[in-house]
Structure formats: C-alpha cells, structure tokens
C-alpha cells in the first residue's frame, strides 16, 4: 500500500484519549504516537487496557474523549464505508487467532481476498500459498483450525492479517501461552514481516523479553496513563521505579504484591466471611 501521508507524520496519533467502562476509568488522557515502518510495543500489566487500546485504534470502541488519527484520518469520525475502507489497510492478530472455525486454513487466509477483491481463483490460490509459505504453513493449508496448535493458529492468523498487504498490523498478546519454539518463531516472523513488507506494527504485550527484543519503541502504560516511553534499552534501564519493576519483573515495588485489603489480624480475628 502506498502511504498517503508524509512518512515523518506518525501513522497513528492518539491525543487526550479517555475511555471508561462503567465507573472504571481505563484511559485518562493518553497521548501516543505510532511511527511508520517501526515496531511499537504497548506494554503494561494485565488489565491495564492494552487490548482495549487496539480496539480503540481499530474503531471497534469509541473513546469518551480525545482523538485517534490513523494515517491522518480521525477513525471515530468516519462513516461505516470509510471506516471499513481504512480497516482493509489494517491487519489485526487477535490473542485467540480468531480464525473462522468452519473453514480450513486455506479458506481462512483467502477470506479477505474473496471479500474485497475480484481476483481470479488461481491468483487467490497463489497469493494465499505465498502468505502461508511466509509463515511456514503452506503444508497445513487443508487443516481445520481445530487441528492447529496455538502457535500454528496465530501464524495462520498472521498470514490472514497480511494477505491484503496492509499498512499496519496490530498484535494482541502474540506471545501469550506459547512454547519457546513457537515464541521464537513468532518473534522472528513479526520482525521479518515488518521489515520485508515495510509495515508498521503495534504489539500489545506483557512479555518483556520477547517484545523488547524486536520493538523499536516501547510505551509503558498503567492506571490509565502512559508511564514512560522510549527504546527497549532505555526502558529496561529506566530510572522510574515503576518501569523498572515491570521491565525486570520484580515481585514488589510501586505495584504492591498484596491486593488492597484490611489488616491481616483484623481479618483473621473479626471477619465473618
């Protein structure tokens, strides 16, 4: 895809983002810039709204305040037709893979092509096989999603996400629950695809080592705010106690080991439940 806006302008620009679920504030004035052609990681503990952020960028959720510009377009002001047109240039890898379970691997990857293009069946076949070859699963094209391991399902989903040659791919916890080999494969693939296809990638993850190994830029978020941002080295050696605790996986620190509760003695002696 040809980038329509100057390459110096961030691909995704988030300003003053606020989002709540009921009375719970998920984001409270978040500013993030996702540069073009790079791998940007959004990191933070579980439950900080990382997946929610991807859904906000993809226009699946609406913020209560703030703007999200994707390739220069305010995604929450677009009509349905323009939103879907923009989404054709955005790929997303869901945590579960989100493969359609009633069709095989080949048809899953071919699905966006059949929906959005008038390509001939032979051309679709070639494109799908090339994408499956890129993720190492050309030989698995006749398998059903239920026959795939978790790592294979994510690789198929990755092939599907990039089959329309999008400008960006969003990865939702791509490494969670993967064995070391699958994790290594995914790390390699994400970096290689980003560079070979001149993509922009957003990885949402709390797997520090794997993400830091391939990210060009890391945003650390917690409690609805961006705590810090910078390159992987800078984040790992951060001066901020919170960032250091998260990046180095320390058990105690600004994020306490104990969930807030009454004194243990009071609980043991006086409580009824």
């Amino acid at each position: 895809m040809v980038e329509s806006v100057d390459s110096q302008v961030p691909l995704v620009s988030i300003r003053g983002l606020r989002f709540s679920r009921g009375s719970r504030v998920i984001f409270d004035g978040v500013d993030i810039d996702i540069p073009r052609g790079k791998i940007t990681a959004i990191m933070g503990p579980s439950g900080t709204g990382k997946t929610t952020l991807l859904k906000l960028i993809g226009g699946q959720l609406r913020p209560s305040a703030g703007t999200i510009l994707v390739d220069g377009q305010d995604i929450h002001r677009l009509g349905n037709r323009d939103l879907y047109r923009l989404r054709m240039r955005m790929g997303m890898l869901f945590q579960s893979g989100a493969l359609l379970t009633d069709i095989d691997v080949f048809e899953n990857v071919a699905y966006p092509l059949r929906e959005h293009t008038d390509l001939s069946p032979s051309m679709i076949r070639k494109l799908v096989l090339l994408k499956l070859e890129a993720v190492g699963l050309r030989g698995a094209r006749e398998l059903m999603p239920s026959e795939l391991s978790g790592g294979m399902a994510r690789r198929v989903a990755l092939a599907r996400a990039m089959v329309l040659d999008p400008m960006m791919i969003m990865y939702d916890e791509p490494f969670t629950g993967q064995d070391p080999i699958s994790m290594g494969v995914l790390v390699e693939l994400i970096r290689a695809l980003n560079d070979a296809s001149r993509l922009s990638s957003i990885i949402v993850s709390h797997d520090v080592q794997e993400t830091a190994a391939i990210a060009d830029l890391i945003y650390v978020i917690s409690n609805g705010k961006v705590i810090e941002s910078g390159g992987p080295e800078a984040m790992i050696n951060s001066e901020l106690a919170w960032t250091r605790q998260f990046m180095q996986g320390l058990a105690d620190g600004p994020v306490p080991f104990h969930y807030p509760a009454a004194e243990l003695a009071d609980d043991l002696l006086g409580g009824t439940c």
Binding site: K55, G58, Q60, N80, Y84, R85, R87, M88, M90, G91, M92, F94, Q95, S96, A98, L99, L100, T101, Y111, P112, E115, H116, A157, R160
Partner: protein, 259 residues
C-alpha cells in the same frame, strides 16, 4: 421502598435497552439482504444447517403427534358416532395450530439454541471482532444468512410436520382403528379450507420463523463472551422463543379466527 423502586426502574430500563438493541440488530440484518442475494451459497449452507438438519426431529415428532391425535380423536368422536370425521379433526388441528406451534417450539429448541450457541461462541472466540477488523460486517455476513435460513425453513418444517401428522393420524385411525379410508380423506378434502386453514397456518409459521430466528441471533450476538454467558443466552433463546410463539399464536388465532 425507594431502593425497590430504583431497582424496578433499572430493570425496566435494562429491558427497554435490550429491546432497542434487538430492533436495531433486526434492522441491520434486514439491510444485509441485498448483499445476500448475489451469494445464494451462504443462504443454502445455512438452510442446510438450520432446516435440513431439523427434518428428523420434526418428522418423528409430527408422526407421533398425528398418531396421538388419531387415537384421542377416535375415542372422543366415536362417542358421538362421528369417527368418520377423524380426518378433518386431525388435519384441522395440525394445519391450524399444532403444525406451526409445535414445529416452532421444536425449531427453537433444536435450531434456535444451536444458532445462539454458534454466534455466542463466535463472539467469545473473537471471530466476530476478527471479521470487523477484516472490514467485513459480521451482521451482514454471519447473521443475515442465518436469519433468512430460519425464515424460509420454518414454514417448510411446519408443513412437513403437518403432513406427517396427517399420515400418523391415518395410520392409527384407518390402519388400526378401522375408520373408513375414503371417509378419512374425503371429509378432510371437503372441510379443510385452503385460505382459512392452510394459508393461515402458513402465515403463523412464517411469523414464528421470523421471531424464533431473530431471538436466537440476538441472544447469541448480545451474549456475554464467556462460557456462562453463552450458556445463559442459549437458555434464554429457548425460553423467550417458546413464550413468544405461544403468545403470538393466541394473538394470531384471535386475529384470524375471531369474529
């Protein structure tokens, strides 16, 4: 007291919100019809899943209901020496009421619950979100074909139920209890009116098909994306569809046959 009122208000608002979401979903489903017409394959696949796979339970149930009708009808009619009108009684009961209503109840239990579970699980496994992010509207691509499959299948299943019910009644009445073969069919032919009986029955089954499919799809689409949420949604589909069918049957019967 105030708390109870506030709770009642919250429940009422919640119900109205769900009703509103349900109607918006129905509108979205109907608006997907132009997209469905050029892709009949999507519809045929769902008609197979929703309709064809329901044929066995509908057929067996229709046969047994007809046999019971034949048996009960014979014992009652024979007390008045009117057992030769058994064919009319069986056919009128089936095409007017039992065919559309029982077929709809079975449809809600077999196909409706399956639709809800399928859509709910697609939501829980992020398949619907995945479609959205592939720039494919899940309502048009997933829900619309299933809705029209139910809409089309229901009258056909009700007709099958009634036809097999009549055969069941024939088997018991004529085959086992000795009602005259000619009288069974001739009375039925003379007394069953195409418009008043058959056509009204078809209208009922069309309405039930629409309502059962709508409820099943809405419950699946609105389900909490957890195993418990899908389980509850499936239960709600069967309960709401059954109540809706029985309630609507009374209203439609009053409109069609009331003075």
């Amino acid at each position: 007291m105030l708390n109870a009122l506030a709770q009642l208000g919250r429940v009422g608002i919640g119900m109205l919100e769900r009703l509103g979401r349900g109607h918006l979903l129905l509108l979205g489903i109907l608006r997907g019809l132009p997209d469905l017409l050029p892709r009949p394959g999507l519809l045929i696949k769902q008609i197979y899943s929703v309709g064809v796979l329901s044929i066995l339970i509908i057929s067996v149930s229709g046969l047994f209901v007809g046999m019971v009708l034949g048996l009960q009808g014979y014992y009652i009619l024979s007390q008045f020496g009117a057992e030769q009108t058994l064919g009319v009684m069986v056919a009128a009961s089936l095409v007017r009421e039992l065919g559309p209503v029982v077929a709809a109840l079975l449809f809600a239990g077999r196909a409706g619950s399956a639709l809800t579970a399928e859509i709910g699980l697609m939501k829980a496994t992020e398949q619907l979100s995945g479609l959205e992010m592939m720039a494919v509207d899940p309502i048009r691509r997933v829900l619309t074909p299933r809705f029209f499959a139910g809409f089309i299948s229901m009258p056909l299943l009700a007709a099958l139920f009634s036809a097999l019910g009549v055969l069941g009644g024939y088997f018991v009445g004529v085959g086992l209890l000795g009602v005259d073969d000619g009288a069974f069919w001739a009375q039925m032919q003379a007394k069953i009116d195409l418009y008043e009986d058959v056509f009204n029955g078809v209208i009922k089954s069309v309405v039930f098909g629409l309502v059962c499919s709508w409820i099943a799809l809405f419950q699946g689409f609105d389900a909490l994306p957890t195993s418990e949420g899908v389980s509850r949604a499936t239960t709600r589909t069967v309960v709401h569809s059954s109540l809706a069918v029985l309630g609507l049957d009374f209203i439609l019967t009053a409109l069609m046959f009331g003075d």
